[in-house]
Symmetry: C2
Subunit: 416 residues, 2 copies
């Protein structure tokens, strides 16, 4: 098998000083995988002529398709376009369709006059094919050199995604050989990574060489991913599914889902299938559980809303937690989350309610109630389940772990 | 000036298929910048022997300090440790302090029996210095070869961060020459990137060569960053501050903050300084504004809570929006957000309230109310300001833009 690989070069000093997190590369890698062009390397370099030039030379040794994102803005810290011009031996010319498009954006959408720098955005090297960008002013560019394809895209995520989806991904399979890459994923809960590895060692040892197993631990759960690569799609799919079923049967007592989905989607699908509704009452997670649930399109079918009772007065006034309870056992207590869950269940008139209260840090911990201590309640009519957790990580991670464990408690409650 | 650079190699197939976003590198780059070791390149490669080996060779050409993160878990898809052993010409030995530490974690924290694979986590190449990991079972390792330093760290973010903070960052300046890298940032709102570039061209042209200017547009705002690099800290700081003041004076009408802070911190500082409190009523953002605000430690000093009224029944029953209003003008309307804001202001007894209602997509848009249309209200006693926006991006971006613009409206309301 002779696979054509891609490499992704991301340009920008902000990546090297850590001012922004690169989410573009992960999305691009996912989409390239789907059309059968695996990504071999990803490289980030600064806005420096020599470093970009070197990266183009270097990555084209590893890959048949080299992507370059970033460095195409209208300001003078962006040097990518003149560099690409020189690298591929062309000269900058004004692309009329792009100029028309830029003019149109300024006239109809931005409703502002154009500047000279904006006209420059319609200039492209004469040795490239222009890749249309309907949602921004910087077009993508495709170059070919010594049998390799180079694709330059703007770094603004929604512009990059638009050009990839509408232009690049349909085009690439007509320009380069693709292979089949198939993934199957199992999400498990309640068993640690090393125990899981020991538990499935027979199934792992039986895998053929073209199927790889990966362990992806996250937030107290472990995702198992099987990846098969090969030219004969029917053959690799058949063997992948066979082995996938063996793993699935083996881990069935720990299985959350056999699809590559986050827990908020799994829980949403389960609620929708059973025709149940959900509300949340959040103290320490401050709306993060509501945010996770509502990040899924269509969540309004099962999720009604949340009371974020960050301040104790909201627990008392909106969620009817008696002041006497707060005084006697505190906001981070079984009693408090139980009343929070039962109150929001009634207020929002839902089938289920989740409530959380805890100490996320970095401050606010005591000996009895250290940072990371969280009470979670899941209520339905006539029954409330509560559980105490101790996460003891950073604030951000404590919030994530609280949300994931709350959703998992709901999943288990809604299983029966 | 002869700068010592770092390079960061991230290992893991999950990065190349886009299953996870690499947040480690950005954090590491930030911290390395602070101690004066700029990052020159970041590379991600898969769990493949040849690719990791090649990356070690290649990155040590570019950098004095090469970081390797990931690939140190207890399962058999992790090949980094045997590879490092071979690369640096050592053999694996059991590190007694690490073994004691791993045993202790299993006995006292996990309260589970240890497996053979866990004992293997205490094995290290005999040619490395062990970097203590108090929060996990995989220690970090430091190697030296031909004048270069190589540091291998686990990929689990909170373990990597612990080792960096407590061991690596204090150690590095004693092992390698560092330089001074100083940043100053201005966050602007209400002026586009190209207009801003035109507006400050005189100040930009006056910058000395060792100070670089970058434009970082995001969510309708533009961040300007000045970066000075040099060996004489007093000298570069003095000139950086001089030029920073010129830029700050020039953009003063658009200035949000002269610190490198996200808007949720700027707004929080402003509320705290004025002794004001805030509540939110969120429909389309589904708790995201509450989440942003409560991601900041100490937010409870000014933020009381939120009613996430995702379902219209919550708008009616909890936020007192009359059914007649919802029927006449709909949930996405000036009337609705005005009542939502004024109700939550009263219910939570705060000085300010934000309310948002809109259509985030991908579905739910109509000709009159397309996807991306959002009404935002900011209320204080006796006065409510409302504004309509049309974002027309993806669901995720529409939510972010709504949150940022709502916080910016609050900032302006609270300025006077």
């Amino acid at each position: 098998m002779d696979t054509n690989f891609a490499s992704i070069i991301t340009i920008g000093d902000e990546l090297l000083i850590g001012q922004v997190v690169d989410t573009n590369s992960a999305w691009m890698a996912q989409e390239l995988n789907k059309i059968g062009i695996p990504v071999k390397r990803r490289v980030a370099v600064g806005d420096t002529w020599d470093d970009i030039w070197y990266a183009l030379d270097e990555e084209s040794k590893h890959a048949s398709v080299v992507f370059i994102t970033g460095g195409l803005g209208p300001t003078s810290d962006d040097i990518t376009k003149p560099l690409l011009c020189k690298y591929f031996g062309g000269k900058l010319i004004l692309d009329e369709p792009t100029l028309e498009h830029v003019k149109n954006i300024f006239k109809n959408i931005l409703q502002r006059p154009m500047l000279d720098v904006n006209i420059k955005q319609a200039e492209v090297p004469d040795v490239c094919s222009v890749l249309r960008n309907d949602v921004g002013t910087a077009p993508g560019m495709l170059f070919e050199k010594e049998g390799k394809i180079f694709i330059s895209l703007p770094g603004v995520p929604h512009e990059m995604k638009w050009i990839m989806t509408n232009v690049v991904l349909p085009l690439l399979p007509t320009k380069t050989k693709t292979t089949n890459i198939e993934h199957r994923t199992l999400l498990t809960a309640g068993i640690g990574e090393s125990f899981l590895a020991d538990f499935i060692k027979v199934e792992e040892a039986a895998l053929p060489s073209f199927i790889k197993l990966a362990y992806l631990p996250n937030s107290g759960m472990v995702r198992l991913r099987l990846t098969a690569t090969g030219d004969n799609k029917t053959e690799i799919l058949s063997l992948l599914n066979h082995h996938f079923d063996l793993f699935k049967e083996k881990v069935k007592d720990y299985l959350v889902t056999d699809e590559d989905l986050p827990l908020e989607i799994v829980v949403g699908q389960q609620l929708r299938a059973k025709g149940k509704t959900l509300a949340t009452a959040e103290s320490c997670t401050g709306g993060y559980i509501a945010h996770l649930l509502t990040s899924i399109p269509g969540a309004s079918a099962y999720y009604k809303g949340s009371v974020v009772s960050y301040d104790n007065s909201i627990k008392t006034n909106v969620l009817n937690v008696p002041k006497s309870i707060l005084q006697a056992v505190g906001a981070v207590s079984e009693e408090t989350v139980k009343i929070m869950a039962e109150s929001v269940l009634k207020i929002m008139d839902t089938d289920y309610a989740i409530a959380v209260s805890g100490i996320m840090g970095p401050d606010g911990g005591t000996i009895e109630k250290p940072v990371g201590m969280v009470w979670i309640a899941v209520a339905k009519k006539g029954e409330t389940v509560t559980k105490c957790f101790n996460f003891r990580h950073t604030r951000e991670r404590n919030v994530q772990l609280t949300a994931i464990n709350a959703l998992n408690m709901l999943r288990i409650a809604n299983c029966g």
